[in-house]
Amino acid sequence: MTHKTVRIGALTRVEGEGALVVHARDGRITGLELRIYEPPRFFEAMLRGRGHTEPPDITARICGICPVAYQMSACQAIEAACGAEVTGPLRDLRLLLYYGEWIESHALHVYLLHAPDFLGYDSGVAMAADRRDLVERGLELKKAGNELITAIGGRPIHPVNVKVGGFYRVPARRELAPAAERLRRARDHALATVAWVAGFDFPDVEHDYRFLALRHPGEYAILSGTVVTGDGYGPVSGFEVARWPDHVIEEQVPHSTALHARLDGATGYLTGPLARYALNSARLSPLAREAAAAAGLGRVCRNPYRGIVVRAVEILHACDEALRLLDGYAEPERPCVPVEPRPGVGHGASEAPRGTLYHRYRLDDGGLVAEADIVPPTAQNQARIEADLRDLLAPRLTLPEDELAGLCEKAIRNHDPCISCSAHFLDFRVNRG
């Protein structure tokens, strides 16, 4: 009888703190726990009693990597609860801000966190010693995203200009000009990035994923849409964001401060770039679609390692679309639409760089938050990541442990899990029961 334990004490090059423990006996995996030991921060509990204007700023603090995603989902959920809607140029400005975050976050992941895996470096900085040109290109891309967020939101992390109903102040066209200038160069970098990462050596792995993403009639959905699910081959089914609680249920597992999500009773679905691409690739900008085809992505990509290519394509799409919006930008007439609080429930979802991010709020008679519920992407993906790891390890258990550990870390990084986000969601109905 042989016992084997693979341990990764602290996952590196992921956002937040996690660890992995795998137990095997007689060549069979008996336990696999992706542990999220990110300390619990109790956001949903803290949100109770706060004003209806506060969740965008407060929930931004859940994650410094994708604060805009939190702000957008929160705003939309509250606007929905209050019967308000942000449309037209103000919505475009929100999209622009969001594209900035996509570019920034994806560039960070592609260049500084993920690419070193394929090229055999410990870090982006180590990679810069040999390939400074590449790292500089990545940093320039990242900076282009950050500048766009800064021009609209004030700063890249926890932007200050986002408000329920729109913005506090809308930037003048001339204030956006430098960011647009930089984006033009970034678009070229993004094109080069797709070609570059497409040439990496990818293990030949495919999983039969069940995907979940937002879908929007006119856009490669980021800011809003309906929820669609499917396997990429067959037809998709969908539901309104407001029906989310009927379909997605979370449960707590003992080894983690995060919860696992189930979709219509089944665990292990995937959200994020692969899901978006599989369900919405037809809506990518023409330039991004071409680049994806040239990179050999096909219509659906089921190889998690190729996630890096999809991310690169999404950077390109974001640059391209942001430029289109910037070129047509006319300063909105007013910075925000009025949002009068009223008792009720609102749901909001948007596509964070790592996947669908859902918020739900119930406001009380005084316009204060009575309940809050947040389901971040990594929590949804955790079970699926564990499944990926089982598939990866099962045939390789004879390999030395440190080699296995290395393989696992890479497989986890494929999904760019943002562990900071995953440590704080719940479903009130479950807990109330």
């Binding site: 937040g16 300390p39 619990p40 921060r41 509990a45 940093l139 102040r169 719940l426 807990n431």
Partner: protein
């Protein structure tokens, strides 16, 4: 003595990762910094953590679990200088709102099995447990200030991180006061500078994310902001966000409550 590059470590406790990301957001300077210092421990950015001791440790996040309490002592032991960055590490962060509530009830709201969750009753700043050489404020800290702390450390000078109010930067930036001109309540006068007066620049009142300035006069400001239409609960909430448990903001919220009762 052999001249070697100073060794830098970046540590994370309960936080959103934003402060560390601020470091990675220094796109123009990152590689120059990496050339001057050895980034010896930075889990988010590197899978080759070098062993201690470290010349400079940047610590993000607050102390909220029994294990972290142990870990921060370890960090102190292996660090020559320890600089805390961000609201969580310097003030307990937003998660310190648990201090005003019952953490067990909080856990019960969030988790079906709160017994699985190991957590402390309070979220505390690093300085509550170990000596800290410098505290850099902000939720998140300002990129330029972060670089300034690192370069001041390298040059052996006191970092240029003034403790005066946001107003100083607001005026140097050429803003008109949003409170005076628009009647928008603003915490700028009681908040420490550093952000470059971002919120007023975007026509918004400061919400205090850099924490209390050196000599905050919240009683006077509260009185004025009431005149601008803020209610007692609104006043209490605005101080109870990212720096809620710092002494001045804690007192500011209490003052608002007390003066609210008088009226």
């Amino acid at each position: 003595m052999v001249d070697r590059a100073p060794r830098l470590a970046v540590w994370k406790f309960a936080s959103c990762d934003g402060c560390q990301l601020t470091f990675l957001d220094c796109e123009d300077e990152l590689l120059s910094v990496a050339a001057r210092v050895e980034i010896a421990y930075f889990l988010e950015a590197s899978s080759a953590p070098g062993p201690g001791p470290y010349d400079l440790s940047l610590v993000e996040g607050s102390i909220t679990t029994p294990e972290d309490l142990e870990r921060i002592r370890h960090v102190r032991r292996v660090s020559k200088r320890l600089v805390t960055i961000g609201a969580c590490a310097t003030a307990g962060g937003i998660q310190a709102l648990r201090d005003f509530a019952d953490v067990k009830e909080f856990a019960a709201v969030v988790y079906a099995r709160p017994d699985y969750i190991a957590t402390l009753d309070r979220s505390t700043p690093v300085a509550a447990h170990v000596p800290v050489d410098f505290e850099l404020r902000g939720c998140p800290p300002d990129r330029h200030q972060l670089l300034e702390v690192i370069s001041a450390f390298l040059a052996g000078r006191r970092p240029v991180v003034p403790a005066h109010s946001v107003c100083v930067e607001c005026k140097a930036r050429g803003n008109a006061c949003v409170m005076v001109a628009h009647g928008t309540p603003c915490l700028g006068p009681v908040t420490q500078a550093g952000c470059g007066a971002l919120c007023p620049t975007f026509n918004r009142g400061c919400y205090g994310c850099f924490g209390p300035m050196e000599s905050p006069n919240h009683a006077s400001l509260n009185h004025w902001m009431r005149g601008l239409g803020m209610s007692t609960p609104e006043l209490v909430r605005i101080y109870r966000t990212y720096h809620a448990t710092t002494e001045p903001f804690r007192r500011a919220a209490e003052e608002a409550q007390e003066s609210g009762e008088e009226e």
